[in-house]
């Protein structure tokens, strides 16, 4: 097993390197730089700034210098915020994004597996159609539509919840997190309940479930002790793709609800050519997704005795 983990990490390193390289050179190919202000600055000042950040050197030297910094866990200074490093910006925004993303995936797995199981147990009955209709809606309606609509209904019309923004004075209070978390979770709930329904239907048809029933186990015991354990496996392997979807979703959610998370900073940084911040966020998210995929595979293997590490 350790050999397997080591091999996966060995594959991850060149993958990350490719991502870093592509992102680095793509960003530098952009017309315009981080120091193009509305009001042009004196040429001498400009040269000094370029020299300070090492932008006067040839591109390949900048690239190796960046990699050398990375090896020492140094993401460099932000080019736009003079007094902040990239690590500062990430450590400010990441807790917000991680809280919302983490709560969303938990909510999605919990609600989705309940809905999916219900639909499977009542296959082709009203409950099933209701859940699958809901799932169709969840997959079809993007977060940037459901977010504003939820904010409109619960925030403006009903006045129950704040419509957006995390007030820095109060931080992440539960009522400010409700709408963003639900909005981000909705499509995932839909996908999880579809997966759960399909796998539960298959499990309920299998022989060992019939055996469990035949030996006189009660309905709930069959469901929780035998069926659920097996049915939950496909959900575990969905965690990898789900994390990528959540990262994408969080960019929109943070925009809709004006949350000071990392996704919003990424879009802003990309528009302002803040190279180092863009690179930092890309590296962070790529490593996170690679890590979560590995974790999902390990959990899957731990839960499923039929899987062995080759």
């Amino acid at each position: 097993m350790f050999g397997y983990i080591a091999r996966r990490i060995l594959i991850a390193i060149p993958t990350l390197l490719v991502i870093i390289t592509v992102a680095f050179f793509m960003m530098r190919a952009a017309p315009g730089g981080p120091f193009d202000l509305e009001r042009p600055m004196p040429e001498e000042v400009r040269q000094n700034i370029l020299e300070h950040f090492g932008f006067d050197r040839p591109l390949h030297e900048q690239y190796t210098a960046y990699l050398a910094g990375l090896a020492q866990a140094d993401l460099g200074p932000s080019l736009r915020f003079r007094d902040k490093t990239v690590s500062d910006i990430i450590s400010e925004g990441f807790p917000v994004s991680a809280t919302i993303g983490g709560l969303s995936i938990l909510l999605a797995l919990f609600v989705g597996s309940i809905l999916g199981s219900l639909a499977a147990l009542r296959q082709n009955k009203l409950t099933d159609f209701a859940v699958m209709g809901f799932a169709m809606g969840g997959i079809t309606i993007p977060p940037f539509v459901s977010g504003p609509i939820l904010a409109l209904v619960f925030g403006l019309y009903l006045g129950l919840l704040p419509t957006g923004g995390l007030d820095p004075r109060f931080g992440m209070t539960p009522e400010r997190l409700v709408l963003p978390v639900i909005t981000l979770a909705l499509p995932q709930i839909a996908i999880v309940s579809r997966l759960m329904r399909a796998s539960m239907i298959e499990v309920l048809r299998s022989n060992y479930i019939r055996t469990a029933r035949a030996k006189g186990l009660s309905g709930p015991a069959v469901l929780f002790r035998h069926a659920l354990r097996a049915a939950i496996l496909p959900l575990v392997s969905y965690i990898g793709p789900a994390s990528a979807a959540l990262v994408t979703g969080s960019i929109v959610i943070e925009q809709v609800f004006q949350l000071p998370g990392i996704g919003r900073q990424f879009v802003m940084a990309a528009l302002q050519r803040d190279y180092t911040v863009v690179m930092g966020v890309v590296i962070l998210y790529a490593s996170l997704i690679i890590f979560l995929n590995l974790l999902a595979d390990l959990v899957y293997a731990a839960l499923n005795p039929r899987v062995t590490f080759e």
Binding site: T15, A29, M136, T140, V145, P241, I251, R273
Partner: protein, 301 residues
Amino acid sequence: MNTTIGSEDNAAAIETAAIEGRSLWDDAIARLLRNKAAVASMIILGLLVLIAIVGPYIWPHSHETIYRERVWIAPTLEHLHIFGTDAQGRDLFARTLIGLRVSLMVGVVASMVSLAIGVFWGATAGFIGGRVDQVMMRIVDVLYSLPFIFFVIILMVVFGRNIILIFVAIGAVEWLTMARIVRGQTIAIKNMEFVEAAEAAGVSRLDTIRRHIIPNVLGPVIVYVTLTIPVVILAESFLSFLGLGVQEPLTSLGRLIAYGAQDMQIATWTLIAPAATMMLTLFCFNFIGDGVRDAIDPKDR
């Protein structure tokens, strides 16, 4: 099972099949037409496509005209602002039509790009097999788990917001599943007798892929393309929502939704009109996609 379709050479074969009896495709079409949700969606989508194409020419307002004295007018029959006007006094119905047109266009074109890349990649990997296959599919595996939308965002920023680039960038992101499906089919098909026959007759590898493999992979590919279109439309609206999509005065549904979300406290209709149009379109595509999938079930093949 071996009914080939798609190249002119086989047109005759299909015709004789139609005379002899029901082909696989006739059955699939009959199944699709029995699916009420899919048929209703096709009719609605047909109407949407029609008004997206014809609408802007016959509607009295242009999406660019600014009526300074008519800012944020709620939907009304007066002056024919049936969806109201936006923050600058532009007719929202005209803008929704243009937005729908752009979204539909992106959906179709970018799906074709993903189709082309995916079919080429998957068919090559599956047909050649061995080492090449392993390396090519390993690349797909690695790409699969990456937040590709980040690269699209960087691309849009770097090369400017150009509609052609949007087609290519989104298509280039969505081809991975297509490549996997095509590879699987190709491996299943390449050991069949007619491929052997082509080889024996001295057909070159490239021609074998083009003439014999690709036409037979068509079923699952059609299913996946219909399901890709809504995904692509969503991706474009996502970019537009962030302000990285098409440029003014051209607009797309995502951009309109972004404006609507900004102004919803003052003018709810600026959000509802484009959001409802988008949801209707996506529902139609998804129902058609599900219908087509049930009609040509890849599991049966």
